[in-house]
């Protein structure tokens, strides 16, 4: 009796071990498939033009050519483009946080006519394909003489154009007890003071998640800078990357990949240090960034 169950136990342990082994094999294989393109990009960014076209390809370039990075930053305006992107990201992230948290406050803690109906409208705008508003918005900004300025790609953020963040912040504000507001109002606080002194300080985690998600989205935004910016020096990095592709003279792949690494590095670094919050944000809201 005991030997039988012991044998069974052993058998079970063995199948468990095999199962574990297979799971790890799949997971590691998948991780290699995901990571290899990045390694390859990095490897290409350190090659000389000759090494780029070498067959069979080398994974570890010898000799390595780190000067590609200098060329991208000095000979091409990529340093300028990275700064432009940083500027756009900072300005629009501040705008999004302020305008979306204000709206979220109004939709979650104040009573006013048509509030709930308007909130449904707001939810509907989250699903609206941007193409429907693209052309008239382009014409509006063109008439205002704002082509080749940063207004078209930063200003809408100050008016809660990305309704998703209103939704996200509202979800969080709803978890804060209303008693706090009432107590503050008893002491003579205005709506704005309640918002600024009580709700915002209590919502730092949610504001952080929103800022990270929005900044990430803005950093890689492509269509808007593509149509609004066409002077070389004013491009954002996402659009500037494309200029390394050259159909007539052939693409300088090693420079393009160096630029790509420089473009991805800040995002990966921020992700590395904040992934716990970002992953939480995605899991809570159930939405990709």
């Amino acid at each position: 009796m005991t030997t039988l169950s012991l044998g069974r136990k052993k058998n079970r342990q063995r199948t468990d071990a095999i199962q574990k082994f297979v799971i790890y094999l799949i997971l590691i294989g998948g991780a290699v498939i995901v990571l290899f393109p990045f390694l390859w990009t990095f490897s290409t960014s350190l090659k000389t033009p000759d090494q780029v076209y070498q067959i069979p390809p080398q994974l570890i370039p010898n000799p390595a050519e780190p000067s590609n990075y200098v060329r991208v930053l000095v000979d091409r305006p990529f340093a300028r483009w990275l700064l432009n992107s940083l500027f756009v990201v900072v300005i629009s992230t501040i705008g999004t946080l302020l305008s979306c948290s204000l709206a979220a406050f109004a939709f979650s803690r104040l009573r006013w006519p048509f509030r709930d109906k308007l909130f449904l409208v707001l939810l509907a705008t989250m699903m609206l394909p941007t193409q429907v508003t693209l052309i008239p918005t382009f014409i509006l900004f063109k008439e205002l003489g704002w082509i080749n300025t940063y207004f078209p790609i930063t200003l809408p953020a100050w008016f809660a154009r990305n309704a998703f963040y209103v939704f996200l912040l509202r979800q969080f504000f709803m978890t804060i007890p209303l008693d706090l507001d009432d107590a503050a109002r008893m002491d003579g606080a205005s709506h704005f003071q309640v918002y600024w002194r009580i709700i915002l300080p209590m919502s730092k985690p949610a504001l952080g998640v929103a800022a990270l998600m929005f900044a990430q989205f803005k950093w890689r935004e492509f269509l808007a800078p593509l149509i609004y910016l066409n002077r070389t020096e004013s491009l954002t990095a996402a659009v500037g990357l494309r200029t390394f592709m050259d159909e007539t003279h052939g693409t300088d792949w090693e420079l393009m990949m160096a630029a790509n690494i420089l473009f991805m590095a800040p995002v990966v670094t921020v992700f590395f240090f904040t992934q716990r919050y970002m992953i939480q944000g995605v899991v809570i809201t159930g939405v990709k960034g």
């Binding site: 990571l35 014409i139 809660a160 494309r242």
Partner: protein, 286 residues
């Protein structure tokens, strides 16, 4: 306090929508005044424009394959990670990484990887003795390349499912084990039904996103070869910003909007048959 949003809604959403609807009924090149055409643009688009239908087909095919595969791969990864596994956090971050970077940089990376002569993928195939494939140059293959690339980024779905899997009550599994259910049965009879609301969400979201695909074809192929990767939004972009046919482009925008709407409503309708909300369980059980 909702004033900024209301202002933004009026000037950046509602106003442009009305303007866009009007423009879709005109011919306008930005330089001469718009000329009212009624529904002529839509008529031409739907009955006369073969390129439009080609782009419609390309976009639909891409959505039909990439969205379900991304869901399946994301679910499989989440299920694998939802166990006692060492380095769980590391795997999760690695799989999610492409979603953090999605867009231009990924497209540029894959343009290099998909290269016929010097690309990494063909290099790897050569080791297996397989002839080089023209991933981006062959009209019959190019869409497959796009789908492969989208599957590579399935980590976004994985993360959402992982959150959902962790909220499935363990009692359900224990009860099933008592009844002698194997892990396969448990997955399809408990796990999948319990997380259908999240699958439903990723399905709708995936459809909306894939129908609006623009940067990837713009960078990888510019719609080629022979328009075999001409996604609808890329076609719209050509009309609006290369040929300055603002009226016709607006009509395309409304067709995309309508298509997204119809598909979303269809999925929503179907959801009654397959999406399972916990509220209904409670209603029955107590």
């Amino acid at each position: 306090m909702a004033a900024p949003w209301i202002f933004g809604f009026v000037f950046f959403i509602a106003g442009p929508m009305i303007a866009s609807l009007y423009l879709s009924m005109t011919r306008w090149d930005l330089f001469t005044p718009p000329r009212f055409l009624g529904l002529d643009n839509f008529h031409a688009l739907l009955t006369d424009d073969n390129t439009f239908w080609l782009s419609f087909r390309v976009t639909t095919l891409y959505a039909v394959f990439s969205v379900p595969i991304q869901i399946a791969v994301g679910l499989a990864l989440a299920q694998l990670l939802n166990q006692k596994i060492r380095l769980l956090g590391m795997f999760r971050s690695v799989y999610y990484l492409p979603s953090v970077l999605s867009g231009v940089s990924i497209a540029i990376m894959f343009r290099w990887i998909f290269g016929t002569q010097y690309g990494l993928l063909n290099g790897a195939l050569k080791l297996l003795g397989i002839e080089p494939v023209s991933w981006l140059g062959d009209p019959d293959i190019v869409l497959l390349s796009f789908i492969l690339m989208s599957v590579w980024g399935s980590g976004a779905n994985m993360l959402i499912y992982l959150g959902a899997l962790q909220s499935v009550p363990t009692e359900l599994y224990e009860a099933a084990e008592v009844d002698g259910a194997g892990s396969f049965r448990k997955f399809f009879k408990i796990t999948v039904p319990m997380i259908t609301p999240v699958i439903f969400f990723t399905l709708i979201n995936g459809i909306i996103i894939s129908l609006q695909e623009f940067q990837t074809p713009f960078i990888l192929t510019e719609g080629g070869p022979a328009n075999a990767s001409l996604f609808i939004v890329l076609y719209l972009y050509r009309h609006a910003f290369q040929w300055f046919k603002m009226g016709y482009a607006s009509a395309i925008a409304w067709v995309i909007f309508f298509y997204v709407l119809v598909l979303s409503v269809l999925v929503l309708r179907s959801s009654k048959a397959w999406v399972y909300y916990e509220g209904s369980l409670k209603g029955r059980g107590e």
